[in-house]
């Protein structure tokens, strides 16, 4: 093989020759780190969009005093349910950000051809998504709870419950988000698919929050919530990766 281009007659440069040793292949951890960094960087370039699910959450919780009653004693009774329904709806809205852009510009395609396990990359994306949407929701939840009459002592418990619950919700939501890629105006369908699967999280999360607000021990439902999150970590990325591959076919 000659080192001169037949078309132009110029000498050919071979990559890596002047650059020193051949670059090492990326490990799974490298890949996950890059997925995380890229998604974080992209989210912060569009900071305005990050706030939207939080604003939605705040607004939905405001609806209930207006629609039901401003008496804190009555609101305190429904506070766990209101918090969780609002968190569920807000995280449904936020699911739009998870895969849509990557599907449009070919990033998902490159991920599936990268040689890295697609399931692992989907997990990395979903965790990053939770950091951008679920974690802020968990931090906002105490404020909403206060406005609904929850006592101050219950706030740390509320943060923990919503944090663990939103992890499970992000994972469950990633499945529907992957399966509805490429369907136009799929917001309602995504909700229809994700809500039944999220009901266990809603049930246990609301119960744990209710116990926390009452000042009782909320360990039991919280543990079940955690178990669901762990189950989600192991199974949801598999389904999401399958959904992504199907959308690329």
């Amino acid at each position: 093989m000659s080192n001169v281009s037949a078309a132009t007659g110029q000498p050919l440069a071979l990559a890596g020759e002047e650059g020193g040793p051949r670059p090492a292949p990326a490990s799974m951890l490298d890949a996950a780190r890059l997925v995380l960094l890229r998604d974080l960087k992209l989210a912060f370039r569009r900071r305005g969009q990050l706030v939207q699910p939080l604003a939605f959450f705040a607004m939905v919780t405001t609806l209930f005093p207006l629609a039901v009653s401003p008496e804190l004693s009555r609101l305190r009774e429904v506070a766990p349910g209101v918090l969780w329904v609002a968190a569920l709806l807000a995280s449904l809205l936020a699911l739009e950000f998870l895969f849509r852009d990557d599907a449009h510009d070919g990033t998902l395609e490159q991920y599936s051809l990268s040689g890295q396990p697609l399931t692992w990359l989907m997990l990395a994306k979903t965790v990053t998504h939770w950091l951008l949407t679920g974690a802020p929701l968990a931090l906002m939840a105490p404020l909403a709870a206060l406005s609904l009459g929850a006592p101050g002592a219950s706030l740390p418990g509320i943060v923990i419950c919503v944090a663990v619950g939103t992890v499970a919700l992000s994972l469950i939501g990633s499945i529907g988000a992957a399966l509805t890629l490429g369907i136009r105006r799929s917001g309602v369908l995504l909700a229809l698919l994700t809500l039944p699967l999220s009901l266990p999280v809603l049930i246990f999360g609301a119960r744990a929050t209710e116990l926390a607000i009452r000042g009782a021990a909320y360990g039991a439902p919280l543990e079940l919530l955690g178990a669901m999150a762990i189950l989600g970590v192991t199974l949801a990325p598999l389904a999401a990766a399958a959904g992504v591959r199907i959308s690329l076919e």
Binding site: L192, L193, L197, P200, I203, G243
Partner: protein, 245 residues
């Protein structure tokens, strides 16, 4: 191990012909069993000591509820087979199951509501079993909605197959959660027999109805399956010969 039977089952023309031959057997047997079961349950069985004659709707309600779950399982298994081994007929089976399962679920909900209404005084209560049935209905609607939203048949098959498998994994979790939720709030449940030891006169018609409903499902499935295969294979060459009388 002889896999030929497996490959024949995967062939649309074979299944198409087989379905046509089997449908009358399932249909007539189901009809006879249903008549026997209804006679046994509505006429022969003694009235329940708590609910009187009102409990008799169980002979339609319980098999419907049972079938709603069994059809979902069948759907999920067929979808998984289609997904893993890429067998088109399996996807056609899953697609045919969905509306039947949704109908059974709706029937279970309606009969459940009718059963409870005289005792509750309202048309609905958040009984754990009814609530689980309602969520199952949403799962069916989601499955059918996903299928309907994707134009490409192959992609619709595969995406809804993943959803069906995810759904079947979730059904026990959802059922457990709803039962747990209900136990916290002590809502009354009336939809069971009034006595712990059920006499055979009450139980046997129930089992007959269960079998009848299963065969009915099989018959309807085979009819729908033929329609599904026809629509998927409409440009294939074997269709013309197969439709000759």
């Amino acid at each position: 191990m002889n896999w030929i039977w497996f490959h024949r089952l995967a062939s649309p023309p074979y299944i198409f012909a087989l379905a046509r031959r089997l449908t009358p057997w399932f249909g007539w047997t189901s009809g006879i069993l249903m008549a026997a079961g209804l006679y046994g349950g509505l006429v022969l069985a003694p009235p329940d000591y708590q609910q009187g004659d009102g409990f008799r709707i169980i002979y339609v309600h319980a098999p419907s509820a049972w079938m709603s779950l069994m059809v979902y399982t069948t759907m999920a298994v067929a979808a998984a087979i289609g997904l893993i081994w890429r067998i088109k007929v399996a996807h056609a089976v899953a697609a045919s199951c969905a509306p039947i399962g949704a109908s059974f679920t709706f029937a279970a909900l309606a009969t459940g509501s009718l059963w409870g209404a005289p005792m509750w005084g309202t048309w609905w209560q958040w009984d754990p079993r009814l609530t689980s049935e309602l969520i199952l209905l949403f799962l069916y609607l989601g499955y059918m909605g996903l299928r309907g939203s994707i134009e490409d048949t192959q992609r619709a098959d595969r995406a809804s197959a993943v959803l069906a498998v995810v759904g079947i994994v979730n059904v026990p979790i959802i059922h457990y959660s709803v039962t747990w939720w209900n136990s916290l709030h002590q809502a009354p449940t009336v939809m069971r027999f009034g006595r712990p030891d059920i006499p055979p006169a009450m139980l046997v018609p129930l089992l007959i109805m269960l079998l009848a409903f299963t065969l009915f499902f099989a018959a309807v499935l085979l009819v729908r399956l033929r329609g599904e295969i026809l629509s998927r294979e409409r440009t294939a060459s074997w269709i013309r010969e197969a439709l000759e009388p």
